[in-house]
């Protein structure tokens, strides 16, 4: 219970469904602020009081669980390390993967609970054989299945999303109002919860000492300089302040950040488009694609190593690379321990460190953290 309206209503529905529910608010900082500021929706004392009042209204016990150390190590430090490595992480995803449906779930299971319920907009469907599938929420505008794509079969088995089939957020707010929950009109939260003022660049600059370096084009020719490579993201156009104009006079974009050489690589917009992405850290949400009847093992590419993941024949799916990006048609396969996804149309703004979530219809099939991409124009060139 973050103190927001979604988790309050999700809790109310879990209670009403007859479950034995205990409200838990996560303390993710040892030094919480007193008042909510800006568009944050968690982590201050005011938010914990909002959550406590909601639990009191619902007549359930309420506790604050301190996961500040785990959160720092697994989410905040990971976020900094990923940026320092020139990658673009999603901390909400990491929090679901390592805190909410790992540390919290494990503690809850050990204490005798059966599941962790949250106010996420996603839908769990159980098939005839009792297998659980993760699906998009009914309200596509609020759908959060992307940030839950990291959940494994075991984590899904102990997850509940009571808001998943709600037609819209307005319905949730109206329900909160009707139930007398004081958070009914509380604003939505947007920013990263541990960056209070929303200035991610400034926050990172305080933690990753910026060093001046070169901005180069794709041939390695220097075209300018920067104050710190980690403050750039793939796809960025503004703030480059290039001294040398592009030969064709067209705007240039960040194509790549190379922390090892402290270089930022720029090029034309079309060079941002990728045709293929791949990552070796991948998981399946629920039954894997073979058990789901979506594809078959690839006997020719099978590894001799029995511990390696099976190679899988290509299969059709959709891939989504950001929380609010449109899914695009793709063909995925597993080869040499890597999930490789080929998109049917060039995709913009994809950076290593982002998570690619695979969908079949509304179902989340699985995900990988993107290690590498192949530019569309390079594929065409070869």
């Amino acid at each position: 219970m973050s103190g927001g309206v979604d988790s309050a209503v999700a809790t109310a529905r879990a209670v009403e469904a007859g479950h034995d529910v205990v409200g838990v608010h996560l303390a993710l900082s040892r030094m919480p602020g007193t008042l909510r500021t800006g568009s944050r929706g968690c982590c201050t004392i005011e938010d914990s009081l909002d959550a406590r009042r909601a639990a009191e209204k619902l007549g359930i016990p309420f506790y604050v669980w301190d996961f500040s150390e785990r959160f720092r190590a697994d989410v905040v430090d990971d976020f900094i390390a990923e940026y320092a490595a020139g990658r673009t992480p999603n901390p909400c995803m990491r929090c679901n993967e390592r805190i909410k449906f790992a540390a919290v779930l494990e503690k809850a299971l050990a204490l005798g609970f059966d599941a962790v319920a949250t106010g996420h907009y996603a839908h769990i469907v159980t098939d005839a054989a009792g297998n659980r599938e993760l699906h998009r929420a009914s309200d596509e505008a609020k759908d959060q299945s992307y940030v839950l794509g990291v959940l494994t079969t075991e984590q899904l088995a102990h997850a509940m999303f009571p808001l998943g089939t709600t037609p819209s957020k307005a319905v949730v707010r109206a329900e909160a109002e009707a139930r007398g929950l004081t958070v009914a009109q509380k604003p939505d939260s947007h920013d990263i919860c541990f960056i209070p003022d929303g200035d991610t660049r400034g926050w990172l600059a305080d933690r990753i000492p910026p060093a001046e370096g070169a901005i180069v084009d794709r041939d390695g020719t220097p075209v300018g300089s920067h104050d710190g490579a980690t403050s750039f993201t793939v796809g960025q156009r503004r703030g480059l302040n290039l001294g040398v104009p592009a030969p064709d006079g067209r705007p240039r974009f960040v194509l790549e950040v190379r922390p090892s050489s402290n270089e930022v690589v720029v090029g034309p917009r079309e060079a941002l488009a990728i045709r293929e992405l791949a990552g070796h850290r991948f998981t399946w949400a629920g039954l894997d694609p073979v058990a789901s009847g979506i594809t078959r093992a690839d006997p020719e590419a099978a590894s001799a190593d029995p511990a390696a993941p099976d190679a899988l024949l290509p299969f059709d799916c959709h891939v989504q690379v950001r929380a609010h990006a449109d899914p695009v048609p793709a063909v995925a396969r597993v080869r040499d321990g890597e999930l490789v996804v080929e998109v049917s149309e060039p995709l913009l703004g994809v950076a290593p460190g982002q998570t690619a979530v695979l969908y079949v219809g509304t179902r989340v099939l699985g995900q990988c953290t993107i290690d590498r991409t192949v530019a569309a124009d390079l594929v065409d060139a070869h």
């Binding site: 205990v22 303390a27 604050v64 805190i99 050990a110 494994t152």
Partner: protein
């Protein structure tokens, strides 16, 4: 619900509630001149006399406050300021503003004090030029007198020593008389935070050298928001609150009903102190023995765990740590089983932090996390203790397995 958290707040006995309700019927501000005011004044002053009697002091030495925290702040800050305002500075003028050098900047503070003291002295250090001299405690949580003697020196630059009468977490009774004698020998005044000890052990007569004592009503069955600072005739404080100068060292309309209810609760606690102590000590020992038998991995903290010197332990406090478990898990599981207990330490937004008291006693941060405090009241029964003992092993087992899950994460890796 079986209530075993009397150190947090102790339920109001019926006789106190009746006196409180009756007092609330009374009209009149104790500072008003008319008869109604005089009746209210008589109620406050009567309460003052009765509170004074429980500590063997005079009525003028009792100043009612809005609770224990205010009493501690008034004593610590007020005495620090008074000691630094009245002392002649080297040039012969009197030090006044915070910009001047303080003639007696040092504050002697044991490491295991309550947060009311810790936060007040930290504030004085940050804003008023106080120099904090932290005093070590031993493995039971008692102030080390050798360290105090060293720290006092010739006393010339020491504003005051502030110390607990008994520790609020582990219940260890402090060597107040010996400490006050050491301080008095070099002219250093002593404030005693007796909030956890008052009504649990006899404090009368106050040892020589004690200048001020803080007490709180709701820890002895009185109302919340009522406390008192006992300030000996020879002691001086600079007030925290400025206004109508209604009491010695404190402005603000006096809470006649609160004072009256406090006095009834305090008198009752002292009239029954011996029998209550005997009753609680027997139950505490039964609980300690039961824990040794059924939860052998638990480590009893402080003097109460030793059972060989009752003078060193509050009779109604049993504190222990469970290796590998988190106190908040234990608390939650016992809450679900119908028991109100505590982890003993201060909470920020409901988050239990590793107790500074246990750390000061030499425990590791990991061990300090597994703390649980059970505090008994006059109405606690054998059946309640036995019920807790029956519920404890299962709660400990679950809390330990949850603690293990936290140390060796499996999911999400």
């Amino acid at each position: 619900m079986i209530y075993l958290d009397h150190a947090a707040t102790s339920p109001m006995p019926g006789v106190v509630r009746e006196a409180y309700l009756a007092a609330l019927e009374l009209q009149g501000n104790p500072s008003s001149i008319h008869s109604a005011g005089q009746r209210a004044r008589a109620m406050v002053d009567g309460a003052r006399v009765r509170i004074a009697a429980t500590l063997g002091v005079e009525a003028i030495e009792v100043t009612f406050t809005g609770g224990g925290t205010e009493a501690v702040n008034l004593a610590v800050k007020g005495m620090f300021w008074a000691r630094n305002a009245s002392a002649p500075s080297p040039g012969g003028a009197r030090a006044a503003g915070s910009g001047d050098a303080r003639p007696r900047p040092r504050l002697l503070v044991p490491r295991a004090e309550h947060h009311a003291t810790l936060d007040a002295v930290e504030w004085l250090a940050q804003h008023e030029g106080a120099e904090l001299h932290w005093l070590e405690v031993d493995e039971l949580g008692a102030l080390r007198l050798d360290r105090l003697a060293e720290a006092l020196g010739d006393g010339s630059d020491v504003a005051l020593l502030t110390m607990l009468a008994a520790n609020n977490e582990v219940g260890t009774v402090q060597p107040v008389a010996q400490a006050a004698a050491l301080a008095a020998a070099v002219g250093v005044p002593v404030h005693v935070d007796a909030i956890a000890a008052y009504g649990q052990v006899r404090l009368d007569p106050l040892p020589h050298g004690v200048s001020a004592v803080s007490i709180s009503a709701h820890k002895v069955g009185g109302p919340v928001g009522v406390g008192a600072l006992v300030l000996r005739r020879t002691a001086e404080v600079v007030p925290l609150l400025h206004g109508g100068s209604q009491q010695r060292g404190r402005s603000g309309t006096m809470d006649a009903a609160g004072a009256a209810a406090f006095a009834v609760a305090a008198e009752l606690a002292h009239a029954e102190l011996d029998e209550r102590s005997e009753h609680k000590r027997a139950l505490r020992d039964r609980l300690a023995e039961g824990i040794r038998r059924s939860v052998p991995q638990a480590v009893l903290s402080g003097a109460a765990g030793r059972l060989d010197d009752d003078a060193l332990a509050l009779p109604g406090t049993l504190h222990f740590t469970v290796p590998g478990a988190e106190g908040d898990s234990l608390l939650m599981l016992l809450d679900a089983a119908g028991f109100a207990v505590s982890t003993g330490s201060a909470c920020q937004a409901g988050v239990p932090e590793p107790s500074h008291v246990l750390l000061a006693m030499g425990l590791s941060e990991a061990d300090a996390r597994g703390a649980l405090r059970v505090t008994l009241g006059p109405a606690t029964t054998v059946d309640e203790i036995d019920a807790l003992l029956a519920a404890l092993p299962a709660a400990v087992e679950r809390a330990q397995s949850a603690g293990l899950a936290a140390q060796v994460p499996r999911l999400g890796r």
